[in-house]
């Protein structure tokens, strides 16, 4: 699968980082997640999702993203 990103929907909750680290590294540590979330506050607000090169596109982050900011591109 290929993971698509829609930054404008991201709420910055970091569930993707948590589930990624649990899935790929078997640890409860979002810092080990293979994606990064960067906030742009106070102006203009909003978040940016950055995938790292280590991402294996397993798609767990897509399953648990509550906002639809991460999605399967091949399903579009």
């Amino acid at each position: 699968m290929k993971i698509g990103i829609n930054n404008s929907l991201c709420s910055g909750c970091r569930v993707c980082q948590l589930i990624c680290a649990l899935t790929c590294e078997k640890v409860n540590n979002p810092k080990k997640g293979r994606l990064e979330i960067v906030g742009h506050f106070p102006v203009p607000g909003g978040y940016e999702i950055k995938m790292t090169d280590e991402c294996n596109q397993c798609g767990q982050c897509v399953r648990f993203c509550p906002m639809g900011a991460l999605y399967r591109e091949d399903e579009e």
């Binding site: 910055g12 649990l22 540590n29 979002p30 810092k31 506050f41 102006v43 607000g45 509550p66």
Partner: protein, 688 residues
């Protein structure tokens, strides 16, 4: 230690000494985390009679075992200190990303002691902890200084800041985090200010050890899925807490013009739905939260609106207190008021209440244009911003208002005291309760002063009938035990409140994460313990503490303009309160009994029980005086009694006594007098 950071960080700002102590597993098992840790450590570490703004006060910052792990909304941190706003137990709970970050850095608790010699901030990066100069940030707003710190350190640091209001010791100053999350209530930012602590920046990189990773992950996934499948989720993600603005008006519980009324004619301009269309630019969630109730907004300067600001919110509470209560007629004005408060570092709830109080004082001529420095009126956002700034910088009338409504009203005189909408010194938050008896009791008995969400009982009033009192004391107690459970775990309760999430989920995941086995009943029993401990904190700190501190302002017993009747009366409230005390195992003055303290293993607090006798002055008017020991006489009681019981003890038939007054105010026979009260008994026809 599974589920925990494993360490307590102790920072003394006076000496500069920094220590880490291991978290004792027995302590963790008994007090769980968050609010439990905070309440116990505060009780032990801050000595009786401490000055809230003195070096001897401490701030306890406590995370919980479910913070930072894979559960929905494991993001809550508790801040506790002796409150400069109330003089009693002070605590505020905050979401965002700070609580998980503490755990990744290895700390369950941060204890701040002493006072720094100059403006400082605390830098924490895992084991590296330093007290650094905050000279360049001092004087700057909360949002501005957070941005500066993020630029100076790195984006990924989680930051707490205070604004000018905290520096200037405004009693309702907040701690700000993540550009719009606050520990708003009870003046926690004020205590930071008194310690010259401008900010804390923290970053952690370690994993949280989990007892059974596989099981915890399975349960966590199940919990997330339950939330995703809930049809109410979308509404929450779209509108957040402002989604209830219209409802609060429909049920007439919306604070309007300093609680004079409970319905705001412009409420449709403040609703979550309208807000989403007009000003929301994106959603903003706390750590691990699928509900994303935070909304980030931008108001643009137009011909109609004067201000151009970016702000997180407004939340429902801000809309209620700054909107309805100050009569601001549109969401853009409320967003601006919100931003003003956030940058200055004042709690939007208390600020809205204090400013509405000032607006009403002005309207009634208690404050003049000369006192205020300009005209102040309801509905005017410039009046709001003007007063907010005066308060934050302690200038002019702001110097008085910065003390909060209770103490400010004492300066303005008895007419103003009637307009101070507070309980225990804390301003009442966003639900009026003249027609909601459970909510009235929840506010009255709340452990930090009048705050709605320590037991959000109003939906129960609506569900079972607002006028009914039956069962409400028990329900309030139940809610007051559920809430601390979430606060101890370090998670948000909104999944349970709003999406009907089962409470039984929590002991299960707690066991998988920590390895500690608890039943739900056991967790709720720990909540009861915390509730009683904080009650004892009040009894220890405030001389004469008791039921009078649980009373709402007289305004709530009076029918507001435009209404024919209300359900709340003094008599019904007294009865509810006595039922509540009885169910809690407290005496008639609302103090925990020895038996209750023993049952909860709180024996260590017994030495702080008030042991003073209650001395009353009795006066009898009319022919019934012959039935009493005299016309005027003192009476000493070992324990609080109702008027009815006092008459019984004096062997006077209660039906012979027509009228009772307590300190000149009409009383009733279920009333429990406090030490020093003057009681007058009158016959039915006392004319002769």
């Amino acid at each position: 230690m599974n589920g925990y950071g494993g360490k307590i960080l102790r920072v003394n700002l006076t000496s500069g000494l920094i220590k880490t102590e291991p978290l004792d597993p027995r302590f963790a098992r008994e007090w769980i985390g968050g609010r439990g840790f905070a309440a116990r450590l505060l009780y032990d570490e801050v000595k009786r009679g401490a000055n809230p703004l003195g070096e001897e006060n401490k701030v306890i910052i406590a995370s919980g075992p479910l913070s930072g792990v894979f559960v929905p909304a494991g993001a809550k941190v508790a801040f506790a200190a002796k409150s400069p706003a109330t003089g009693g137990y002070g605590e505020s709970n905050m979401g965002g990303h700070f609580s998980p970050e503490m755990k990744y850095a290895g700390y369950d608790v941060i204890i701040i002691e002493g006072t720094a010699p100059q403006p400082s901030y605390l830098f924490i990066e895992d084991d590296r902890v330093e007290i650094r100069s905050a000279q360049k940030y001092w004087g700057k707003g909360c949002l501005t200084s957070e941005k500066m710190l993020k630029s100076d350190l790195r984006e990924e640091f989680q930051i707490l800041t205070i604004g000018p209001a905290g520096e200037n010791l405004v009693r309702f100053a907040c701690i700000s985090h993540d550009f719009g999350r606050q520990a708003g209530r009870t003046g926690m930012g004020t205590v930071f200010g008194s310690k010259k602590l401008k900010a804390i920046a923290i970053k952690g990189t370690e994993a949280i050890p989990v007892a059974n990773v596989k099981e915890a992950t399975r349960l966590g996934k199940e919990m997330f899925k339950q939330i995703f499948d809930n049809p109410a989720l979308k509404q929450w993600q779209d509108y957040g807490t402002p989604g209830v603005v219209n409802w609060a008006n429909e049920i007439e519980a919306f604070p309007t013009r300093n609680f004079q009324m409970e319905y705001f004619e412009h409420h449709k301009n403040l609703s979550g739905q309208l807000m989403r269309d007009r000003i929301v630019t994106s959603d903003k969630a706390c750590f691990g939260c699928p509900m994303s109730c935070g909304k980030y907004s931008h108001t643009r300067k137009t011909s109609k609106y004067k201000y151009n600001v970016w702000v997180e919110g407004p939340e429902y509470e801000t809309i209620a207190l700054c909107g309805g209560n100050c009569a601001l007629p549109n969401i853009e004005d409320v967003a601006y008021a919100n931003w003003v408060c956030d940058e200055l570092g004042i709690d939007t709830i208390s600020s809205g209440a204090v400013i509405a109080f000032a607006m009403e004082c002005f309207e009634k001529g208690i404050i003049t244009e000369k006192d205020a420095g300009r005209k102040i009126r309801f509905g005017d956002v410039d009046s709001f911003a003007y007063l907010a700034k005066k308060i934050a910088y302690q200038k002019g009338i702001g110097k008085i208002l910065a003390r909060g409504t209770r103490d400010a009203s004492k300066v303005f005189g008895p007419e103003a005291e009637k307009l101070a909408m507070q309980i225990k010194g804390l301003e009442i938050s966003g639900y009026s309760f003249r027609n909601a008896l459970a909510m009235a009791l929840a506010y009255g008995t709340c452990d930090v002063g009048a705050h709605h969400n320590r037991a959000w009982a109003i939906t129960y009033d609506i569900e079972v009938g607002r006028q009914k009192s039956e069962g409400k004391a028990a329900k309030v107690i139940f809610l007051q035990h559920v809430r601390p459970m979430f606060d101890m775990l370090g998670t948000c309760r909104l999944q349970w409140v709003e999406l009907g999430f089962e409470l039984e989920n929590y002991p299960k995941i707690l066991e998988a994460v920590t390895g500690f086995k608890y039943s739900l009943e056991e967790l709720l029993k720990f909540s009861e313990k915390v509730w009683n401990l904080t009650r004892m904190f009040w009894a220890r700190e405030i001389k004469g503490f008791g039921q009078t501190y649980d009373w709402p302002p007289q305004r709530f017993f009076k029918v507001p303009p435009g209404k024919e009747k209300i359900f709340l009366t003094r008599e019904i409230y007294d009865q509810l309160l006595q039922e509540y005390y009885k169910l809690r195992g407290w005496n008639k003055n609302g103090i925990p009994t020895r038996k209750k303290l023993r049952e909860l293993n709180l024996e260590f607090t017994m030495g702080d029980l008030p042991h003073k006798k209650i001395k009353l002055e009795i006066q009898v008017v009319g022919y019934i005086k012959e039935l009493f020991p005299g016309e005027r006489f003192p009476l000493e009681l070992e324990n609080p009694l109702t008027i009815r019981e006092i008459l019984k003890r004096l062997k006077v038939k209660e039906e012979l006594v027509g009228l009772v007054t307590v300190n000149g105010e009409p009383g009733n026979k279920d009333h429990v007098p406090s030490d020093g009260d003057k009681i007058m008994f009158m016959a039915f026809a006392a004319g002769g």
